[in-house]
Symmetry: C2
DNA sequence: ATCAAATGAATCTATGTTGATTCATTTGAT
DNA sequence: ATCAAATGAATCAACATAGATTCATTTGAT
């Protein structure tokens, strides 16, 4: 797959600081990521522009990751794995979006609208998986989408707090999502 | 089980407004829940006291719900179901806590400290389930705890956005957590 | 040693917000 | 109709914050 241009580490650090403390002032955010308020200003002049830039960066990265997963054509298990890997590969952007984004807000940017489309793409993928007999059909595709996102968020947040080892995340996600916690 | 005194609906509404818009001013919070700023003041005079009250109320309700689940003694499946029901029964408090609480913050209230204890209780429960051969052992008890919380949060948020029907939540949670999405 | 670029401390105006209060209005019971 | 309780609009002083700027300092390449 085409390797995308890496995201500015400072921007990712700001994203995590915003997730950790949504009410932080710009001064507090700057301090949390180890720069001055002026440097943060030079990266992005306003809070709204920071958020906007994070959303557009998330769209840029997830456009590529989702394309690479070939959700419409690849074998379902393979596509699912690639989708999970894509999320984990851009975990900071993903956690930022999942904490911040509210699909039902009326006024949204193009980037936020693109996440509405991503959501529909995920739903469609789970539906295809159900139709092909891979996923169970007694749980809706929408529920499968939401749970995938919720589980991924939980794993990323747990990794950050040291509750889960980074190397275990992909494997844990796949096992728990596909076969659950009950011993077979 | 002992039926606990219901939580003030206004307090729960405020909790959801805070989750939806963490940066809202007190004026905005009041408007979101349909009262004046003065009435919100009369419920709780400061933002910190609102948060404190929400945490103590969550502890009060979850103390009862967790006791009722008999996590240390009841059959694992039965205890698990009761634990899930307890969370869903107090979904607003639960979502507020899971969005707000950071276990690693140094200065925490008694209520927040109690949630550290709850986390340990959940870990212990999953460990017992593993030891009794009910839960898989190739995923850590900590991971099972975190995923339970993450899945529940996702389901509650999805219900609020209309993506999942309320009546499906308990069943979906149980099926997905125990047996996963892959068709058996 | 030099120097351009990057960064930070300090500062500013304008605005918003907090916490609190007061008095008018509404509500609901009688 | 009456009235106590509840509620809301408006207001206030004190303080915080946003966005922007400037000049000093640091950094890193040469």
């Amino acid at each position: 797959m085409i390797k995308s241009e890496a995201t500015d580490p400072l921007l990712l650090a700001v994203a995590m600081a915003m997730v950790d403390n949504p009410r932080a002032s710009l001064q507090e955010l700057a301090k949390a990521v180890g720069v001055s308020k002026a440097t943060l200003y030079r990266m992005c002049p306003t809070r709204d522009k920071i958020i906007e830039r994070l959303f557009s960066e998330s769209v840029r990265q997830f456009d590529l990751a989702i394309a690479a997963a070939e959700l419409e054509t690849a074998p379902v298990l393979q596509a699912f794995r690639a989708l999970i890997e894509g999320h984990l590969c851009h975990k900071e952007l993903f956690v930022f979006v999942s904490n911040t984004w509210e699909p039902q807000l009326l006024e949204t940017s193009d980037s936020e609208h693109r996440w509405v489309e991503f959501e529909a793409i995920f739903d469609k993928f789970f539906l295809r998986g159900q139709q092909e007999g891979f996923f169970r059909v007694d749980i809706s595709a929408a529920a499968l989408s939401e749970l995938m996102i919720g589980m991924l968020s939980a794993l990323v947040n747990s990794e950050r707090s040291g509750r889960i080892a980074p190397r275990d995340m992909l494997d844990t996600m796949e096992k728990m999502f596909l076969t659950g916690a009950q011993r077979l």
